[in-house]
Symmetry: none
Subunit: 131 residues, 4 copies
């Protein structure tokens, strides 16, 4: 999986890292149960400090996206059960996005299509292949 960080940006490195891994999990690029690179490995690859990677991993662990097994490092969490209720925080973020889209001049139909496109890139295991 390719990770690209913009060193000169407003978003903290650890957050960029966290975001890209979240997307990687959702798209299936990082398969469920797949082992993530070690902290040191990833830090080396990206040319950043181990503690920065550490912080990203801690965040992901805290949010439940990954689990850290002391024996084998970090891996992607097992899929969550189907849950139709969005968190309030997510809803608020979505509202902001849609507000911006609306002002930019994007109509709802176009937006829906855009969402569909993005969704189709996700490998969400919640519809058919879930136990």
């Amino acid at each position: 999986m390719i990770i690209s960080l913009q060193l000169a940006g407003d978003i903290p490195l650890y957050e960029q890292l966290r975001n890209q891994i979240v997307v990687g999990i959702a798209t299936g690029e990082l398969a469920r149960e797949e082992k993530l690179p070690t902290v040191r490995q990833l830090a080396d690859d990206l040319g950043i400090n181990t503690m920065t990677v550490n912080k990203a991993y801690s965040l992901l662990k805290q949010e439940g996206y990954i689990v850290v097994d002391r024996r084998h490092g970090a891996k992607v969490s097992p899929p969550k059960p189907h849950n139709p209720e969005p968190s309030p925080q997510l809803e608020e973020e979505l509202q902001l996005i849609i507000a911006q889209a609306a002002i930019q001049g994007i109509d709802p139909i176009r937006f829906q299509k855009l969402c569909s496109n993005i969704f189709s890139r996700m490998a969400y295991p919640h519809l058919n292949e879930e136990r």
Copy 2:
């Protein structure tokens, strides 16, 4: 228009302010061409520093959401022409949101419905009243 800031939160005050004004514009709560309160006025109302409000206004101006006329203060920008192409940045943010939603266990249909609900609260002037 009601603005509520959480003083003790991770999101910077100026960004919360900017976000709520953007939503206000999209929902029509802040009518197009409407005059915004002065920096000092708003800072007083919210009990925060003028520099913070100033920063939010600067950001909004830079992003094109408002125009600052030296004689009349700040006001909401006129509507943009219909433009079906989303900015890459918006697309990226949307991707992150959808990724999180997918992992949370929200299916595309539910998500679409959620979007529709939010869109219906927006007064997007791009479909009928296009100049």
Copy 3:
């Protein structure tokens, strides 16, 4: 409030710090809404690194014990409503404590008395003085 760290121990410094602050909040030694010392201040006082204090504060923030106001630093969270249901984690920890006490030869009556003593040192605002 006095904080004493054992530098040569198994418990990480940031955790010792976190624990003592939690106790300080419960006993009322750190009054509700009271401002905590700044990260740098405390780090200097204790002779440890700022990042260690930072980590303790982050933990406390994440757990809801304190709130961090960007304008005035960290302060103790407002009291929680009366809630008779203990978290499962707390229950498990308590079970371990009681197991150890039982093996040590402490009978239930003695234990109850011990709890009462400790509780009497707490300034829990949940019984009378709550809105």
Copy 4:
């Protein structure tokens, strides 16, 4: 006796093991003088490293919970005499628990009841069958 370890957790495996054995002793699930499985046996059963089990046993021995007879393997220590004085360390741990409980909004009566429930699951041999 059933032992369940969470491989992906913050608590070290050897400590989880130690804790569960302590609880097992207190509840009487592991009867006094009962022989514990060998290090290798237990390691195999749990699918973990022998060193991890070894460490847990060493800790338990050092704390006086078990005795290791070179000829017969490890077994639970004989009951301690009735001793109403808690160790300072236990008292400190209890203080932390109670502090958290108080902040969580649990009142002393509820807490006492919780303790009683847990105590009733213990088979403390110090009240009646004292030698």
